[in-house]
Symmetry: C3
């Protein structure tokens, strides 16, 4: 046992953004008190939906740790999500006494592109090739610029010549040349229980990105006429189910990621995570990224997905699944096993 | 109190098309008797789904008001939808003694493009620019023809020269030159309660239009080879959820529309309405249209949306929400406040 | 009455793939014992989701009939799906004593392209034109090769000249030249009850195919630069609802197919089936294919669709609807009427 006061840990808290509605709704359904740390403008949303028993107002999401003492005093368990990861400083989180659902050390691997790639490669997953120099380009590639908000200015090329032609006029100095895999995007939402050691498929989604998910509505000729450029800013998510015969492979990939994570950090990865894949016409999964926490695509499934409907026979969102895991951990006196 | 006989107003009625299944299903779930005015060919659908306690057959949807007396005698409350708005004559509606859910005077603003634009501009929303003359074209525009069924023949241009080149051979005399905003379509389904003065986000959708939502499946080269033209006829709707950090802005826009409506007509707008937006890569909402009544995209959420699942914790479609509002109004002796 | 032992027929069985999760889940919800015949690698999925009371392991799905005796001994009723149809040999099925839900004779019409076309034409449905010779091409066509896995190498043309230009270098000898209908794909999931003689609309979907459902995310210029080719391998499904005014036509088409099937085989078609359509901008349905059994698009609706939510007021997947039909048949002593 750790020093956590399990008997009083009855508050689930998060930052007011990304998937907070789902996380807080799920916590309430499992009987927890809830708390959200939000800006004044966001707070109205959480008030409206009635999911937060208490709201702590901060000036900006970056001030999350300014209320750390209050969170600790309230015995709140923090649920991380993408906005939390984006706004919170790594060192602050590492050194904080707050109770954190998941392994906070694994987040470093999500944040660092090359560590992440090492992790996924170590899991034996199929990754898009990275070209070290433009001169090696021998197939379609996407050229990505670091810090390009919403993926603006990314371009495709299929040869060194085309790369050098298109790169002119770009001022970015830091870029990646990644093999462009042509296939359909599939985001896989997993949940791994540290209590039962079981991996679950919660749901799947496809992102809805601006403007790239709208340009298909513009005829090719018109696209060329208006000299269209693409960008990849996430505006939402749409639901999908996967071809059933691909599920064994989906489980395999999830298990491989969990095994590899144990080699990175003793506690490994647990709770919700997501593999961002592209499925080729040959039905092979290429993995582009891993999110080591809940993803926004799960917001589609507040009342359950086709997969959780089968497994649970009751509404089970990923947010609720998190709360259920914490509840079980508390009941079994094993809270420390779900915190990290 | 008005002269409405609230004690006997227990029938919810609509025209048999658009979202009648949802409206009638929602009414039944809230304990109302239901009635649908439908053509013989449509009637079978309402019979099949068992949502209508009574069906009045008309020769065509345009004959709706031929059964006005029967609707009045039955104390039926009419729920408008897009087909109702399309088939029913404004003057007939204005002068009719039927009980009408919503503000019938606001529909004029939905019907009239320039009044509608005034309304949205007055609400401070971001609108696509309208070009008064082709010579002003300085960015991508879409050229729309009035009366072009299903948006057939709309074309894009990005300069006066291109406009004049493409307009040749068109016989339409009435057209609009609208800034073409490149971004993802998002339809926002609101509900404003005149009883509680609260604005709710019910759900979101994306239209499924023929052929424009299929051309992305045709390779660019092939599109050009077959000389593809686009059209925008609505065939259905697909679900989505929105990036959570955009919700504060979504509430703001809805509030602004409600405030502006009060300046147009004393009763303003209430009940369901929809903003048809395009979200740019910069995550700005451009508003193209407002529907001052239920939209067909809500048909996706007969058993609730992620948003209503959180707020209500029970299945709550927009159709049911309408019936709930009427029920509460009757219970509180305030029925006149939801009719207009 | 037939020789089926209705009193003991309490096991619903299927092959472990395609829509087995849904079929088994639906069977359990209706109180049946369930059995899945699966490969070792797939079995884990069915174990994980807890839908199978027993699992029979086979080396490959093609070995399904090697366990025929066991299925017969257990009084299992087999539910067919696309994988079953693909892996199982027609003659083996025809001659087998296993209890089979649906009319096994109608499957021959699904398997044979020309019989299927005859069936659909006989039902008076609108079909894409087939060109017997390239010289007749007078509109956009899609050229399909038999045995081209996942639709690889299909190409479009709009004239004999273009056909002859593009066909060079292809080694396939067997091909079809089909009119290319430009419009949105809509898959309609029907269920026809042989007990009540009623046709139901269960749900709708749109396939998610690799790579054709991702190429719209690539700008036209880039598509041309990388010399993109399309393919049509199914990776999943996404949900949709249909414009309500199209539902009368949807019922008509379903009824026409049922009537025509009775002329093909005495028992006709019953249980679930699907029309794969494209809806044009003029809102006309072109029918490309019929599936004479459950389709994977129904996997989206484990907990019901908007349409079944209205009709049933409780979660009703197509898988559960099958089990419900079998249950009612057993209760009414009419099991032979749902087997064929």
């Amino acid at each position: 046992m750790t020093g956590f006061s399990t008997s009083t840990a009855r508050v689930i808290a998060t930052m007011g953004s990304h998937s907070a509605l789902q996380i807080l709704d799920g916590a309430k359904r499992e009987g927890f008190k809830t708390l959200v740390v939000a800006t004044e403008s966001a707070a109205g949303v959480y008030r409206h939906f009635g999911v937060a028993d208490s709201i702590i107002i901060v000036k900006s999401n970056g001030d999350f740790f300014s209320v750390e003492n209050e969170l600790v005093r309230k015995n709140a368990i923090i649920i991380p999500h993408a906005s939390f990861v984006a706004y919170v400083n790594s060192e602050e989180l590492e050194g904080s006494p707050i109770m954190y659902f998941g392994n906070r050390r694994i987040l470093a691997f999500e944040r660092d592109r090359s560590l992440q790639r090492k992790w996924l490669a170590d899991a034996g997953l199929r990754l898009p090739r990275i070209f070290k120099t433009p001169d090696d380009i021998d197939r379609p590639v996407i050229v990505k610029f670091y810090g390009a908000a919403g993926g603006k200015g990314y371009f495709l090329a299929k040869s060194p010549e085309e790369f050098y032609e298109k790169i002119r006029g770009y001022s970015h100095r830091s870029l990646t040349i990644q093999e462009y895999i042509i296939g359909v995007p599939v985001y896989i939402h997993y949940f791994y229980s540290p209590l039962t050691k079981e991996l679950e498929i919660m749901s799947l989604d496809r992102r809805y990105e601006s403007n790239v998910d709208s340009i298909g509505r513009i005829a090719a000729k018109d696209q060329i006429d208006i000299n269209l450029n693409t960008s990849y800013n996430i505006t939402g998510n749409t639901p999908l189910v996967l071809r059933e015969s691909l599920l064994p492979r989906v489980f395999e990939m999830g298990e491989a990621v969990i095994d590899a994570a144990k080699r990175l950090s003793p506690k490994g990865i647990f709770g919700p995570f997501c593999l961002e894949t592209v499925v080729t016409p040959e039905l092979e999964f290429y993995v582009f990224e891993i999110s080591a926490r809940i993803v926004a695509g799960t917001n589609l499934y507040i009342n359950g997905s086709p997969y959780t409907d089968i497994r649970y026979g009751m509404p089970m969102s990923t947010g609720r699944r998190i709360a259920l895991e914490i509840k079980r951990a508390i009941e079994q006196g094993r809270l420390d096993e779900v915190l990290g």
